[in-house]
Every structure is written in C-alpha cells, then in structure tokens.
C-alpha cells in the first residue's frame, strides 16, 4: 500500500532528477555543477604578495609630494633622501621655514610622524599606517588582478583574498599554454609607470657610475627596455601612474603600436609645470623600471597627454594598456602554488573517472541483483536515487565537481549499498528464524537502523573534518562523500523501507527466493 515513506522517496527522486537535469544536459538555464579545473582545464594559483614593496613605494611617493610642496612653496631644502625604503630625511636651510614646513607636511602627509633635530628632519610612517598600507596592497592587488582578467575577456575568473596575505586566482577554460603564459604575464605586470627626470648634470658619467654612487646623488640608474643603454635618473619621480586616467593602444607615424595615456587634473598640472621648467632637458618614461623612451622636452606640455612607444607587439601593447588602465600593483605578487591543467588532460580525466564510475556502478548493481533478487533491485533503485540526489544537491549549491569529487561519488556507490546489505541480511536472518514477512521487514529495519546510523555518523565526522581542513580538490572529495552519506540515509533506509511496505501485499511467501534471494526453508 502507498505509505509516507514511499511518497517521501518519490519526492526525493523527483527533486533529484529535476535539479540534476541542468547539470547533466549542461543547459544554459538553471543552477548547475561547475566542473573543477582538473576536469575542464584551467589555471589555479595561490599568490603571495611582497607587501614591503608597497611600503617602499608609499615612501617614494611621499618623497615626491614633499619635493613638490617645497618647490611650490619655495622652501629651500637640501639632502632630500629616502633611507632603506622606510623613511625620508631632509634638511632645511632657513630656520624661518620650520613652522611653515611642519604645518604643510602635517596637512599633506597623513599617518606619518615627523621627527626634528635642529634643521634636520625625518618622516616615518606610523605602525598603524604600515599595517593599513599592507592590507591595502592586498585588497588593491585583488581588485587590480580581477579588473585585468575581466578586461582580458575571460569567462568567470575567480580572484579572492585567502587568509591574511594570500590571493587565490582561478581561471577556467584556457585553451593553450601560450594563452596561459599571457594571462600570467598580465597578472604579474606591476604596471608601475613613472615619469622621471634625467640628471643631465651627471648623465655623461652614467656608463662608469656605480649604483651606490648614483644613490649618493639621489639618482638611480635604469636601462632601456630594448637596448643596453643606461640612463641616470632622479630617483624621486616627477609623477607616477596613480595620476593616470586612461590608457589606449594607438599607432605612431610609422604605424607602430604605441600606448597613449591621459593624466588627471593634478597630474596634468604637475606635468605641465615640470616640462615648463625642464625645457631642453630629457624626461624618461619608465615602466616597471625599464626606460621606454627619454625624449627631449622642447616646450611646456599641457593637457596631460603622454605616449609610450617601445617597439611593441600589438598583443603586448593591448595587454599593457589593460594593465595601465587597471592601475599598478602596489606590491609585486609571486607564486606560492600553481596548478594548471590543459583542456585535453581535463577531458581525459573526465573520461577515465566516468568510466570508473560506470563500471563500479554496473558491478554493484549486478551483484546486488544476483545476490538478493528483488531486494537487490529495490536497493539499486535507492542507489540510483542517491546518485541523482548527490547531483541535485551539488547543482543547487553550485558546487564544484573535481576529480577527487568523482572518486568520492564512486566510493559512495560502494558504501551506499552497505545500508541495504545490512538491512537485507537482517531480514534474511529473521526470515530464517521463521518470522512472517511483514514482521521480518519491520524488525529488520528497526534493528539495522542503529548500526547504520552510528556507522554513517562516524564516516560523516571524517568527511566534515576533511572538508574543514582540506584545500581545493580535497574539499570536493569530502563534499561529495558527505552529501552521499546523508542522501543514502534517505534513499537506502527510508526509501527502500517505503518500497517494501508498498509492495508488501504482493510479496509471495512461497517466492522468497525471488524476493529475498533465499531458500524458503526457514518459513515453515
């Protein structure tokens, strides 16, 4: 007769089928399971970040601000230096400027401490500011990398902060290794743009000058991106990429790709003032510490439009423009962990695991029917319901199916029938004792229940711990196994029980061989 258990099972089955259809047919609509990177191919990376560089560049830009203020306010100073990338020092020449300087710096430089010793000053960041800058560097890196990948036109990349200081990047659906490298280069690009003045007074000596000597003049030596030519540049830049509003690929008169960028109002003003003062001298366009060009300044340049030319490939210029638009990485990132799987390997992985799943499933199904007869068929119905339920629940949660996840499902197939083996063995035992069919079934389920419950809960404990402590693919394994265990409680215990109660009137005493796979001698 129809009972609540069988109705519940029918609903579960319906639920399972309905919600697993989008995943099985890979239709556009509906929630579905995402294939893990190991199955569809793609790039998974855990990136670390060199946040000390963010501090250093913060100090650098502060130094640029200080210089700009002094020039603007006509304060006479000397020995403006960055020390160990941690602080700025300078000396005032006129003691009348002290109070004005202190007031100006306090207003312009937040989160810093100004120490004075006579006319010598040093500026340091507060501890809070250091921590904030580091945090900022990470969240800025996450945003920047995300913007870059989005502009590149990739399908659903994941970029997320992981833990305190790591960044998780996952990019599915990369076709070739060359594409993958291009994506990695795009992420890695610091895109740190600087406009720097050439130190024309000492430029002639650059070929023989050491880095330390250059530093003592407040200069830095950088090389050309394409040639070994060296440039002696003022270490504190005129301005940097943070004042950039747009960057686009264009072409110069020789039809070579170039990048045109536009500065914001403040940047344009600084740039105009600087070029006005620096006529006849050279200014270098520096990107990630490579000099791209160092044109002579012929006249004051207003409007804030600058061009980078550097014998680019078109794709390179395109990627560079994306990187410049998305802004510089405040600190460089490095690889802590990388896993990349080519699409063909992913396809092979799917093929192999599907084959194992099918074979394992068929093996279990045949065995159950051979050994238990109809009881085995009922268990198999529950097993199929279980598989659909796993797929449905995973679809609803939009879970990711990985290769270990497939292994988890295969394993669940083996373990889910366990409940039915236990129940069937109990029923057989009771039948052998001579109990009636109805009584054997009821008592069989009752007695088997505690064993199944305890056994499943303990397996579930292992699955939950694995889920909580596992990373990436392991989580997938724990997830499918956990869902499989829970689903099996519904299908293998409630579902099969309902089917028995439903079929009970039809179960023939004389056909115990057919129904339960045993000789009828017990049932006198």
């Amino acid at each position: 007769m129809i009972n609540y258990r069988v109705i519940l099972f029918a609903f579960a089955l319906l639920f399972g089928v309905v919600f697993s259809v989008p995943s099985l047919t890979q239709s556009e609509q509906g929630k579905k399971i995402t294939l893990g990177l190991d199955l569809q191919g793609g790039l998974h990376m855990l990136l670390g970040i060199k946040s000390e560089v963010a501090i250093e560049s913060r100090i650098k830009s502060m130094a640029a601000t200080v210089k700009y203020i002094f020039d603007d306010e006509e304060i006479i100073f000397d020995e403006l230096r960055m020390v160990d990338g941690e602080k700025i020092t300078f000396e005032l020449l006129d003691s009348d400027d002290v109070s004005k300087t202190k007031a100006l710096l306090k207003k312009e430089l937040e989160g810093t401490v100004l120490n004075e010793n006579g006319l010598k000053f040093s500026i340091e960041m507060t501890e809070d500011e250091v921590a904030r800058t580091k945090q900022n560097a990470i969240s800025q890196a996450v945003d920047t990398i995300r913007t870059r990948l989005d502009s590149f036109g990739l399908a659903e990349p994941t970029v997320a902060k992981q833990g305190e200081d790591k960044i998780l990047v996952e990019v599915p659906g990369i076709k070739t290794q060359e594409d993958e490298q291009r994506i990695r280069e795009l992420i890695a690009r610091a895109a740190h743009l600087q406009l720097m003045a050439v130190d024309e007074d000492r430029a002639a000596r650059v070929s023989t000058m050491s880095a330390a000597e250059a530093q003592s003049f407040g200069d830095v030596i950088l090389t050309d991106v394409n040639t070994p030519e060296k440039y002696l540049l003022r270490a504190i830049p005129v301005l940097d990429g943070s004042m950039l509003t747009d960057a686009k690929v264009g072409f110069d008169e020789n039809n070579q790709p170039v990048i045109n960028f536009t500065l914001n109002g403040q940047g344009a003003k600084i740039f105009g003032d600087f070029t006005g003062k620096y006529v006849g001298k050279r200014m270098a366009v520096v990107l990630d510490n490579d000099v791209y060009s160092a044109p002579n300044i012929n006249e004051r340049i207003g409007g804030g439009r600058v061009q980078i030319s550097g014998r680019f490939q078109l794709s390179e210029a395109h990627d560079l423009a994306i990187a410049l638009r998305s802004g510089a990485l405040l600190a460089p990132v490095y690889v802590m962990e990388k896993r990349s799987v080519g699409p063909s390997l992913g396809a092979d992985n799917i093929k192999a695991s599907m084959l194992a799943l099918m074979l394992g499933f068929i093996l279990v199904v045949i065995f159950m029917i051979l050994y238990y007869g109809m009881a085995g068929v009922i268990a198999n119905v529950a097993l199929i319901g279980n598989l659909f339920l796993i797929l449905a629940v995973m679809s609803l949660f939009g879970a990711t199916l990985t290769l270990p996840g497939m292994a988890g499902i295969v394993l669940t197939v083996g373990m889910a029938v366990d409940a039915n083996v236990i129940i069937n063995e109990r029923i057989r035992e009771l039948l052998h004792e001579g109990k009636s069919i109805a009584k054997s079934i009821e008592e069989g389920y009752n007695k088997a229940f505690t064993a199944i419950l305890d056994a499943n809960v303990t397996t579930l404990i292992a699955a939950v711990v694995l889920w909580a402590y596992g990373t990436g693919p392991l989580k997938g394994f724990a997830l499918t196994m956990g869902i499989g265990i829970l689903a099996s409680m519904l299908t293998a215990i409630v579902g099969t029980h309902g089917i028995y109660q439903w079929l009970l009137p039809k179960i023939n005493k004389k056909k115990l061989g057919f129904w339960f796979g045993i000789k009828t001698e017990g049932n006198k």
Binding site: D38, L46, E178, S340, A356, A407, L411, V421, E425
Partner: protein
C-alpha cells in the same frame, strides 16, 4: 543467492592470540618501514615543480633528458613515464616564484625538436605551502580520530571507543606501511584515502560492535567471548559482502580511473582489506583485553533503567498532584 549462512558461531575469540600476533607483526613491519625508509612525499607536501608532457607518439625520454639537463637549473630533474608511453612527467624539487615565467614555459622552449608534444599540466608548490598542507593534514587526521572517539564513547562505552580507535590506528598504520613499501607518492589524495580508511574501517567495526551491544542485551550467557563470537559470525556475511562491493568499486577506480588517482585508489584498496580484517579479528579482542564486563554493563544499564523509571514515576506523581 546465499554464501554465508549462519549455523553455529565460529570460535574466533579462542584464536584471538594468533590474530593478535599477525597484527602485531604487520604493525612492527609497517612502523619499521615508515621509520627506516620513510614516506615518499610528493609535490603537495615536499614542494617542487612538476610538468606533464604528452607526446603524439611514444615519448622520446632519452632525448627529453638530454634536452633538459643542458640547463643548469634542471640538472637534477627526473623524467619518468606517467601511466602510458606517450605521457611523461618532469620533476624538480625546486619551485620558482616567478609568475610570468615558470618551468612549463621553459619546457615548451627546451623540448622543441623532440617531437610533437603538448604541455598538459604544470604544478608548482612552494615549500611554505607544502609544510602548511602537511600540518593541516596531520591536524585533520588527529581531529577525525578525536571526533570518532567522542562519538563512540557517547553511543557505546569508553572501552568500545578505545577498541575501535586502536583498530583504526592499526589499519591506518598498516596502510601507511604499504604506501611506503610500494613507494607510493604521498600527496593530498593519499591523505584523503587515509582519512577515508578511517571512516570506512570504523564503519565496519561499528556494525560489529552494534551487534555485540545488541547481543549483550539479548544473549543470556554473560560470557563476553561467546557473545562476541556469535555477533561477529552473525555480521560476517554483511562485513564480507560490503567489503567486496567496496573493494571491486575501488578496484575499477584503480584500474580505469586514470594515473592521477592511482595513489589514492591503491591506498584505499589496502585500507579496505585491512579494515575488514581488523573489524573481524582485531577490534573485538581489544574490547576483551580492556576488560569489558558484560555483567557490570548489564548492572549499570539496569540501574539506569531503574533510575529513569523512578524519575518517570516521580514525574507522574508530581503531575497527578500526589506530591
């Protein structure tokens, strides 16, 4: 079909010493192997770089070796076949932090001219991540055992919990011994396999213990040995059948699931066999060794029932307003 038919209890407990010696021998060999030979930590835990290259034809492994070792950085790289003749794995213990150029990119250039190939997989695990994964793995193992210990104590009795956990440690140790013996690489998936063994083997043990718990309450003879014999015999068919289905499923995974999953499935295969053995021959004798007394248990259960009954009585009286 019926293979195992219950007729009379097998006398297992009388032979428990023999099984104990077998287990002890296996344990000593396993621990010896783990200590002397040690785990062959794979990429996940040791860190390093792995590049999988697929050739359209048989991979020219000698040419590949010659091409790679020209570069100083890859001098100590190992090159091996992976699963079949078309697939090779190139491994080094080093891991580069560089994002825009890694070993996969280098291989694409270095291997030019060795044939028609495709770089299919590049895995890089930094040393720091490796040690973090190892710590987390050990923690997961420890927490699982702790959780299980607590649950079984709560559902059964502390001696059952100790016995089941000792059986677990027995299984996992022997499985680890096999992993070392066959030189299986220990990666995250091997760890997953070990944790699955924990769950699986316990599953088996719990089914037997559940029957013993039931036997304690229903079998008149208070001799634990004979209760165990009878319970183990009664669950023997289930234990064997489930182990067989699981074994065959894992076997298909091992044979057809692809090379990547071999370490995982092999570890599981060993675990299924050992887990089945231990739930029949190891867990219950430990229960006896721990001095579990049936009459004490019954006495306590009776007292508990009595207290519950009195409580009910009191409540009934209270509700009736007699107090």
């Amino acid at each position: 079909m019926e293979i195992f038919k219950y007729k009379a209890p097998l006398s297992l407990m009388s032979k428990s010493k023999r099984f104990g010696l077998v287990s002890l021998a296996l344990l000593i060999i396993s621990i010896g192997l783990i200590v002397t030979k040690g785990f062959n930590y794979g990429l996940d835990f040791a860190g390093g770089t792995l590049v999988q290259v697929h050739y359209k034809e048989k991979a020219p492994i000698a040419k590949v070796r010659a091409a790679i070792t020209k570069v100083k950085e890859y001098e100590n790289a190992s090159v091996t076949y992976f699963g079949n003749d078309n697939e090779i794995i190139i491994r080094t213990k080093k891991s580069s932090k560089s994002l825009d150029k890694d070993m996969g990119d280098a291989m694409r250039v270095l291997l030019k001219g060795t044939g028609d190939f495709e770089v299919r997989r590049v895995d890089i695990v930094g040393a720091k991540v490796g040690s973090e994964l190892r710590e987390k793995g050990l923690m997961a193992m420890f927490l699982s055992i702790l959780g299980i210990l607590i649950y079984v104590s709560f559902r059964f009795e502390w001696r059952f919990a100790i016995a089941s956990v000792m059986a677990l440690i027995h299984d996992v140790t022997i499985a680890m011994g096999a992993v070392v013996l066959f030189g299986i690489e220990v990666n995250l998936d091997t760890l997953a396999a070990l944790l699955t063994i924990l769950g699986y083997s316990l599953n088996d043990t719990i089914i037997v213990f559940d029957r013993i718990r039931e036997g304690i309450n229903t079998i008149k003879n208070p001799d634990l040995g004979s209760i165990i014999d009878e319970s183990v015999t009664q669950t023997l068919s289930r234990t064997t059948l489930t182990s067989l289905t699981t074994f065959f499923v894992v076997l298909t995974l091992f044979m057809f699931g692809g090379e990547i999953i071999k370490g995982f499935s092999f570890t599981l295969l060993v675990g299924v066999v050992v887990g089945t053995y231990s739930s029949i021959f190891v867990a219950s004798p430990i229960l006896m060794m721990l001095g579990f007394s049936v009459s004490d248990y019954r006495l306590k259960a009776a007292e508990k029932a009595k207290r519950a009954k009195e409580k009910d009585k009191m409540r009934a009286m209270y509700e009736n307003g007699t107090i």
